[in-house]
């Protein structure tokens, strides 16, 4: 115990120590960040023009997937998996776009709140079905992904609708310094406001407990069913945030789900969250999303065939995760 108390004491006096402590406890995320920095340097080398504009474009293009990755991370931590993230994004995106089009800013605000509640409701349906029917998560959420995708097409047959001006302003452009894109700030604020307090709450501990060992959680007085439903609701909430950000960044709602579901799973794995549940956080997946996107950008700069770029992305994903587990094995042996 002395190690922790000492670490805490030191963190008050020297922030450097606190950062070092954080990096030691989250070595996977720390190495991801280091990798991202290297990747940025590399990008700058192959494309000297890559600057503030590039970073802004990166942040905006990454924002929906980053939020989707957080959504997926939460449910995976609790021991589940949600294959309807992409469809929920499509549904919430078209609902917000069709309701906001040509409306007053005040009404648009109500729409945003309503869509977030819709996200919670979609997640509650997913979670309740998983808990009540005891059908495996993958089956339930795969089935529901068709339902939500169908609903999205019922709301809006073709891409359309619009986004409120203030919503677009909230994520487009830069905040103060031209190097700080608003979209990145928005993601960080959303995650900080929702996830950080949650992590320190009883629900947060319950999420990890249920993901780690359901029986032990049950025996310790945790309501497993309620925790699972809550996890899916949070996933729905973040999927709705991702959907709204999609509408805001493109200015329209698109009823056909993008490749977000599987990419969110990829980001979660790359972000250091075990698919078996119980470990990891949401920050790693966000960094992983940025890395995956930046690799794509670099491939474009290097004039690599886009199909080949997709192959390369898969290879990198497998490679990084493999190296990660090799390091893990070596460390626990040597």
């Amino acid at each position: 115990m002395t190690a922790t108390t000492a670490g805490l004491g030191a963190s008050r006096s020297r922030p450097i120590d606190a950062v070092a402590g954080w990096a030691r406890r989250n070595s996977w995320t720390a190495s991801l960040i280091a990798f991202l920095v290297l990747l940025l340097v590399f990008t700058r080398m192959i494309q000297p023009n890559y600057g503030a504009t590039g970073v802004q474009g990166l942040a905006i293009s990454v924002m929906p997937l980053a939020l989707a990755a957080v959504a997926q991370a939460i449910v995976v931590i609790s021991g589940g998996l949600d294959l309807s993230v992409g469809s929920m994004m499509a549904l919430t995106s078209v609902v917000s776009a069709s309701l906001m089009k040509d409306q007053t800013p005040e009404f648009a605000f109500l729409v945003v709140v309503g869509v977030l509640l819709l996200g919670l409701a979609l997640g509650a349906v997913n979670g309740s079905l998983v808990v009540l029917t005891r059908v495996p998560d993958i089956v339930v959420t795969l089935a529901m992904s068709f339902v939500w995708a169908g609903c999205a097409l019922l709301v809006l047959r073709t891409p359309g609708g619009g986004s409120a001006r203030w919503l677009r302003d909230l994520i487009l452009g830069s905040a103060g310094n031209e190097w700080i894109p608003k979209a990145a700030v928005a993601v960080l604020v959303i995650v900080a406001v929702i996830w950080l307090p949650l992590r320190r709450s009883r629900l947060g501990l319950s999420l990890y407990a249920v993901g780690s060992n359901q029986l032990a959680a049950f025996r310790s007085g945790v309501s497993v069913g309620r925790t699972k439903v809550a996890a899916y609701m949070l996933t729905g909430l973040f999927a709705a945030l991702a959907g709204i950000s999609l509408t805001a960044s493109t200015g329209i709602g698109t009823p056909v789900p993008g490749p977000y579901t599987l990419q969110s799973v990829a980001a979660v794995v790359l972000g250091g969250v075990s698919l078996a549940g119980g470990t990891g956080g949401v920050f790693g997946p966000v960094v992983a999303v940025v890395i995956l996107q930046l690799i794509r950008t670099d491939m474009t700069f290097l004039n690599v065939n886009t199909n080949l770029a997709t192959v390369a992305q898969g290879v990198i994903l497998v490679g990084v995760v493999m190296i990660g587990s090799l390091i893990h094995i070596r460390r626990s042996r040597a």
Partner: protein, 528 residues
């Protein structure tokens, strides 16, 4: 010990193994003669499991040589070790839960006839070979595992805690079977925490302490003392015997019972649980395997709903729909199987804090400072070794069990339900747990302690109840509850009853047919 290498069946010399910063084996040696039953002894964390894993090829040593019948062998896998003639029966039965017994045997290419022969010898000759492994009780699975190993006719048979969690009648059969291996060409390496079994069947004992072989003892009358001395090192004087004086100082508060159980029934096995548990006492529970004690504890802990009867806590009737209800009423549960209780990838702190918040407003924020203080106090009280605190699965078995107890101590104990909390734990930790239970009782808590080790009753309890066939059949003062008395009561012997073993095993066979607790155990995660 002047035997030359060729006289020995198995010789391991100077074997070492480290995991990261943790030294599991410093320098272990083991020499087994043909035809002997050799005990491998050591407190938890002494390196027994690691040595076994190295001998059976599950783990590769950093250093050292292993010689089988005069030829140096390095096993790269359990299959490899088997070809060299070394077969092990692990603590967790190595049977695939979703396959029937026949398929399990085919999987390991076990010859059928010898297997049936050994099953017959071990008293389970009428086993249904098409039964799914997950439907059989844990005790049977272990016996099946043993029969399977015997059928292969290995040169060296390794038995790791073979008798833990076996009912008395099966234990007897197993020990007899092991004893019969003596004097032949083959040898048995026997690992057990039960000194009485070591004395009964073993010829010699190799003692490990902190990853080193500290002595080889001929097992004779009175050699237990010497073995314990070697195992414990300098703290010999703290053997459980020293606890006797303190143990029997029941301080029962007069008046209403803390927990009053009346005619509680559940499932097919528990018919009439009736007893009172008072504040300030440790009440022992003794029963043969499968007499309804699992159900009784599940009901009291809120994991299972009773089909009849009444529970009162401090005089007020209660009914639990969920463990959280029981915890709020002050009834907390310590399981024998750590896999049922711990979050393996989470930290010691989180594991202890997990139930601390049950009493709080649902899903509210955790008071970090208060939680930290309570957790630290609990860690100090239980003397938990927190070097590997970031992931609880890296702790030793004894320390893991302390964590499962600490999580309740942190919140203050009202009534603690301990289900065989010392199963498979070293003497020193066991003793710390006895002392802790006593301290809790002295501080006004009520403790219910089921144990499969009859010796524990006199060491740790004030009073004991005995369950047989789902009913409480006897109650006695711990002072009168020596092993013979408890055994008689556990078999529900009237003065002139005959053939107790047959009766009891018939009763067990009838009642164990669908033991749910086996599933969790059989499907449990492999040890890392």
């Amino acid at each position: 010990m002047t035997a030359t290498a060729t006289d020995l069946l198995l010789q391991a010399t100077d074997v070492a193994k480290t995991y990261g910063a943790v030294v599991a084996l410093r320098s272990a040696s083991l020499a087994v003669r043909p035809g002997e039953i050799h005990a491998l002894m050591g407190a938890n964390g002494a390196g027994k499991s690691t040595l076994v894993k190295i001998l059976t090829g599950a783990v590769r040593p950093d250093r050292g040589t292993i010689v089988v019948r005069g030829r140096e062998r390095t096993a790269h896998s359990p299959a490899d070790a088997r070809r060299h003639g070394i077969v092990s029966v692990y603590q967790e039965p190595a049977l695939i839960p979703d396959l029937d017994i026949r398929s399990n045997l085919r999987l390991t290419e076990t010859p059928n006839e010898p297997f049936r022969h050994w099953m017959h010898e071990l008293g389970l000759g009428d086993l249904d070979m098409s039964a799914l492994a997950r439907r059989l009780p844990l005790a049977w699975l272990r016996v099946i595992d043993l029969a399977r190993a015997l059928a292969i006719e290995p040169d060296v048979l390794l038995l790791d805690e073979m008798t833990a969690a076996l009912p008395a009648n099966l234990t007897e059969r197993v020990l007899e079977m092991i004893g019969r291996q003596r004097g032949g060409e083959r040898s048995v390496i026997f690992i057990s925490h039960r000194m009485i079994e070591i004395a009964a069947v073993c010829d010699r004992a190799t003692v490990l302490r902190e990853g080193e072989t500290v002595g080889v003892v001929d097992v004779t009358q009175g050699s237990e003392e010497r073995i314990v001395e070697l195992m414990l090192g300098e703290i010999v004087k703290d053997t459980p015997a020293g606890l006797d004086g303190a143990a029997i100082t029941a301080r029962r508060e007069p008046g209403e019972a803390r927990l009053s159980v009346r005619g509680v029934s559940a499932g097919a096995k528990l018919h009439d649980g009736t007893f009172d548990l008072h504040a300030g006492e440790v009440l022992g529970v003794v029963a043969l395997e499968g007499q309804g004690q699992d159900e009784l504890f599940d009901v009291l802990a809120g994991s299972e709903r009773p089909s009849g009867g009444e529970l009162r806590v401090d005089g007020k009737p209660v009914s639990f729909r969920h463990p959280a209800d029981a915890i709020r009423a002050g009834l907390v549960y310590v399981a024998a199987d750590r896999a049922e209780a711990l979050l393996p990838q989470r930290s010691v702190r989180e594991n202890i804090a997990l139930p601390l918040t049950t009493g709080m407003r649902r899903w509210g924020l955790i008071n970090v400072r208060r939680e930290r203080r309570q957790v630290d106090e609990a860690i100090a009280t239980l003397q938990i070794d927190t070097r590997a605190q970031r992931e609880v699965r890296r702790l030793s078995g004894g320390n893991q069990q302390k964590v499962t107890i600490a999580r309740w101590v942190a919140g203050g104990v009202h009534t603690m339900l301990c289900f065989d909390p010392t199963r498979g734990i070293d003497i020193r930790t066991k003793q710390q747990i006895y002392v802790l239970l006593r301290e809790l009782a002295d501080a006004g808590a009520a403790v219910l302690l089921y144990t499969s080790e009859l010796k524990e009753i006199q060491l740790a309890c004030d009073r004991v109840i005995v369950i047989f066939g789902g009913r409480v059949v006897a109650e006695m003062d711990a002072r009168d509850a020596d092993e013979p008395a408890l055994l008689r009561a556990a078999y529900n012997l009237t003065a002139d009853a005959e053939m107790p073993e047959l009766e009891a095993s018939a009763a067990i066979a009838a009642e164990q047919a669908g033991d749910a607790s086996t599933e969790a155990a059989a499907a449990g995660p492999p040890e890392r």
